[in-house]
Subunit: 310 residues, 2 copies
């Protein structure tokens, strides 16, 4: 099977959209941006053995590679539209590509995202995706908008993906609920969209709450205090780890792809209503304070999230 057969295999399954003038198959895709909107663009790469265990199912790799990109659009408050995919494979493996497409295209369909182009190359297993979305100027959820007095919120539950990873690293079976969070994260696209005009800043939690919130603090010129006992935990995480390990996973575990955002106190009622409307828990976990950095009394000083190369 040659490169062009792989591309044809992906192409015949990819859905399109009305704003795709020319999709897969030319030197470039030609796309019609939504007039009056900004284009939000993000690019993330997942490498086998670094971002997912090598034995991860191809469908899960496909899902996750798109999910982490849609999560960045969500954290910006952007509406997903298009993506490009670069798939690097050790050898042309039709079964892998079919499985990959199962997960990738299922998530793309959920969010109306069209795959419009990309590349297939030979090399160690790696997936790069660039995702594009729209957001009106002035409505984007940036990292630099947190203000002293705002409250810090997170969606869903924290630490689940890191819990699964810890079990895997220990050679133990992964709890199914935790593994599902690691393999098939849910990008909080509807939440991001709904937070426009409510949140003062947002970021998705890919490297751990403390590390990611620290980016918001740095960009906004503020500090933050986190109440570790307020961090939401799933029943599965509570069942799998004692309280000390669990707290560390919640505060520093990456890969959950929940949103962390700040909002004025006056938005509490709006956020509680939003939580009900989306059937998604939203928890108040701290506050924005003067100063720098993120304080979290119950954890050892210097505790941070995941850094590549660190």
């Amino acid at each position: 099977m040659a490169e062009f057969d792989l591309i044809a295999r992906i192409r015949q399954r990819a859905a399109s959209r009305g704003d795709v003038v020319l999709g897969i198959g030319d030197d470039c895709a030609l796309l019609a941006p939504l007039p009056g909107q900004l284009l939000a663009v993000t690019m993330d790469t997942l490498n086998a053995g670094v971002h997912f265990p090598p034995e991860t199912a191809p469908a899960d790799i496909g899902w996750k590679a798109l999910a982490v990109n849609l999560s960045d659009l969500a954290a910006m408050g952007a509406e997903p539209a298009w993506c490009t995919l670069s798939l690097t494979l050790p050898h042309a493996d039709a079964a892998f590509v079919d499985g990959f497409c199962d997960g990738f295209l299922a998530l793309a369909a959920q969010h109306g995202v069209a795959l419009v182009g990309g590349d297939t190359t030979r090399g160690p297993l790696s997936v790069s995706i660039t995702a594009h979305g729209f957001v009106a100027a002035g409505e984007a959820l940036r990292r630099d908008g947190a203000r002293v007095g705002d409250e810090v919120w997170v969606s869903g539950t924290l630490g689940d993906a890191a819990g699964a990873l810890r079990q895997w690293q220990a050679g133990a079976p992964m709890a199914p609920v935790l593994q599902a969070r690691l393999d098939r994260p849910t990008p909080r696209v509807a939440l991001g969209r709904a937070l426009r005009g409510i949140a003062s800043s947002a970021i998705d939690i890919s490297d751990g709450l403390l590390a990611d919130l620290a980016h918001v603090c740095r960009a906004s010129g503020v500090g933050a205090e986190i109440d570790v006992d307020a961090l939401p935990a799933s029943d599965a995480l509570r069942a799998a780890f004692d309280a000390d390990v669990r707290r560390t996973l919640q505060a520093t575990g990456g890969d959950d792809y929940e949103l962390c955002f700040t909002a004025p106190i006056a938005q509490r009622a709006a956020l509680e209503a939003l939580s009900r409307a989306l059937a998604l828990p939203l928890a108040r976990v701290g506050r924005v304070v003067p100063g720098t950095g993120v304080a979290c009394a119950a954890l050892p000083q210097g505790t941070v999230g995941y850094q590549h190369f660190a």
Copy 2:
């Protein structure tokens, strides 16, 4: 050195543009598309040992990774604007990143391209770039516009990069002129822009003239005949290889990133004037004929260009 230090190192050197509302450093870049224009998007990945020899200078890798993407924009007739970069490195290597940026940013500056975001990850050396440009609807140079009776043209000289690669594979020193073509290809951006309204179709030569022209033929529902003796050769290629090897390199060698395009006979004078204006040789090398496939009498039947996985 951690991931964020690498990103900071790149960020502080990256130039911006007036249409970049938010560049490197948030969950997404925020970009203002040019009103009334289509967005042209392309994504290409280069892997060490597959797309370039592992010992290639970092500056050359940076240059080439951007060049192959700008070449796709050129082949579409698009005006380059923005790019995102995903850099995968075995370890956080500041000297590599500095060298990479030297080449990458030098080419970006030549074309007014802003680096607006991306990713840095750990893994085997690999570079993915997504490039964005603008082109008016109806002016894009697509692969499906070749018509029977059109002539086939190519820019520059062919086979140089493949000649360098052949020398390297044979363990011989690469001729400097040929090596420069392999390591630092020139994306034909100005030519692509000028071909709007003149060329009926275009493609960049990344996998070899015969293979790439075959894509045009397939998309356009036509065939093509190539006169191998009309293919342009550099003096360096003539000096390095005998005529038979040289012809094969010219017809099938990839990595030159010249443009192959078709145009009606009536455009001959315009193309000759354009060649003079750009100081870039443009050679008529064949014609579009009824049927399918690319015929090239002087080469063995079935000769094609480079295919990954093949």
